[in-house]
């Protein structure tokens, strides 16, 4: 009984018999995943396996696509996120998302981070200043921009922009951060900085990352979920999966024979 409670507490997002379609094409087939709290979970798999779709479904950003349909449920803290009663703005504050292409808002660096705070009702200038500074520090960007907080965010480099977007996401103090291939457009040094950042952030947040980059998944993740053609093939602790994959497909992918 007690064991049961601990396991439940451990899981922050539970994906239950989840199916998804774009028009007629089924892209996710009966997915069941328990994402663990305060861990880095990496979803890996070849292109078109549905990993981004799964991540986008968790933030419900796929609602924007009109042909998109789902069945099944995703439970976040005992609440089905596809429930009609759910307040999407509050939910998305708790489960933030960072996309592959860093797209800062068309405003200054400072305003980019402060924007999220303002829309969630914070008015106190000093408080906002503090959180902006804290978030930029957490995202390892503060030292590079502290003297020019009010210049346009578009003047930053690609790596800086991605860190700014991460700072923007953590400023509203989410519980889960979803990252959709956050480093695929970045150079190795920027990638390394972001990986280090994620390892620091995981103490306070739950991180779910979709990545194309297998070595990266192995480097930073605690759990790996391998997907192939819309199905979850194998999941488990990263160290175990790397050492002894149970499924032939997983082994092929890890060895570079598919993907």
């Amino acid at each position: 009984m007690q064991n049961d409670v601990i396991i439940k507490n451990d899981v922050i997002i539970r994906v239950n018999n989840f199916n998804a379609w774009y028009g007629e094409k089924q892209v996710l087939k009966n997915i069941n995943i328990d994402f663990k709290r305060n861990k880095i979970s990496a979803i890996i798999g070849p292109s078109g396996c549905g990993k981004s779709t799964l991540l986008r479904s968790i933030n419900r950003i796929n609602d924007e696509i009109t042909s998109y349909k789902i069945s099944g449920e995703i439970i976040f803290e005992n609440e089905n996120i596809y429930d009609k009663e759910l307040d999407l703005t509050i939910y998305r504050k708790r489960v933030g998302m960072v996309f592959q292409k860093p797209v800062p808002f068309p405003m200054s660096v400072y305003e980019n981070v402060a924007f999220g705070l303002r829309i969630h009702g914070m008015k106190n200038k000093i408080k906002i200043d503090n959180i902006v500074e804290k978030s930029l520090k957490q995202a390892a960007l503060w030292d590079e921009v502290k003297d020019e907080l009010h210049k346009s965010a578009y003047e930053l480099s690609g790596g800086q922009q991605q860190r700014l977007v991460i700072a923007r996401a953590i400023a509203v103090d989410p519980e889960v951060i979803l990252l959709d291939e956050p480093t695929s457009a970045l150079d190795p040094i920027a990638t390394q900085r972001i990986e280090r950042l994620l390892e620091e952030l995981v103490e306070n947040y739950t991180i779910i990352i979709v990545t194309h980059n297998l070595p990266q998944a192995i480097r930073i993740s605690d759990y790996i979920y391998f997907m192939y053609q819309g199905e979850l093939i194998e999941s488990g602790l990263t160290s175990e999966i790397i050492k002894s994959p149970k499924n032939q497909l997983t082994e092929d992918y890890l060895n570079g024979r598919i993907g």
């Binding site: 924007e64 009109t66 996309f99 924007f115 923007r168």
Partner: protein, 234 residues
């Protein structure tokens, strides 16, 4: 060989572009040169006088009335068209479903193809009698012209603004939504701001179109030259 081709192509493109610019300068120069004698005859009176009696003796050539009327009409119509156009564009961009969007686009394209004579006729036949009823002094007035200009340029403005907003990277919208921003705030504060240059462009083109439109104004406001400040006077 390839070098040569490139040089030739560059030359052709440059000369075509240049000929356009030269033509423009020549037209401008011609207009100014031809108007110099007239301007010399009239002097500064043209910009300082309200009297336009070219057939009298001595004639009076003050275009100030027309100038002010044009400006007033433009400002008044723009004030209606631009916010309305923006709201329509905003709705189409963010709230309209696929079907609604298709219908609206079709309607807008059709409307923007309507010749201005038709709109002028419509105003005279349907709106103008109604205006007399509510107390206008004449069947032709500046408010009528404003309505005509609104009908004429609204589709154009809305579709230009919608295009400006649609051309913004979808990632930007998703990024804002993923942060928990509401649909309205995303469209209004983020997408519109990113599309600002396109929206400005739409505004300038709209104002251009309103200034340049003669047919509707002539039919709806009449050809009289008098000072039309209260909107219901001809």
């Amino acid at each position: 060989m390839r070098e040569l081709k490139n040089t030739i192509n560059t030359f052709i493109i440059k000369s075509v572009a240049l000929s356009g610019i030269i033509a423009l300068i020549l037209i401008f120069g011609f207009v100014i040169r031809e108007s110099i004698p007239a301007l010399r005859e009239v002097g500064m009176e043209i910009f300082t006088s309200f009297d336009w009696f070219p057939t009298y003796d001595p004639p009076a050539y003050g275009i100030l009335t027309m100038l002010i009327n044009s400006i007033l009409l433009t400002i008044f119509s723009s004030l209606i068209v631009i916010p309305l156009g923006y709201i329509i564009a905003f709705f189409m961009y963010d709230y309209a479903g696929n079907f609604e969007k298709k219908m609206m686009k079709g309607a807008i394209d059709l409307l923007s193809g309507v010749p201005s004579v038709i709109i002028g006729m419509f105003l005279i036949i349907y709106i103008s009698p109604w205006m007399l009823e509510i107390g206008a002094w004449s069947s032709e007035n500046i408010l009528l012209a404003s309505i005509g200009l609104t009908i004429l340029s609204l589709p154009y403005t809305a579709s230009l603004m919608e295009e400006a907003m649609s051309s913004i990277d979808k990632n930007l919208k998703e990024g804002a939504l993923a942060l928990g921003t509401t649909r309205f705030t995303t469209g209004f504060k983020i997408v519109s701001r990113a599309a600002l240059s396109g929206i400005f462009n739409a505004i300038i083109l709209t104002v251009n179109r309103i200034i340049g439109e003669t047919m509707v104004v002539l039919m709806a406001a009449g050809g009289q030259i008098c000072f039309l400040f209260p909107f219901l006077i001809p």
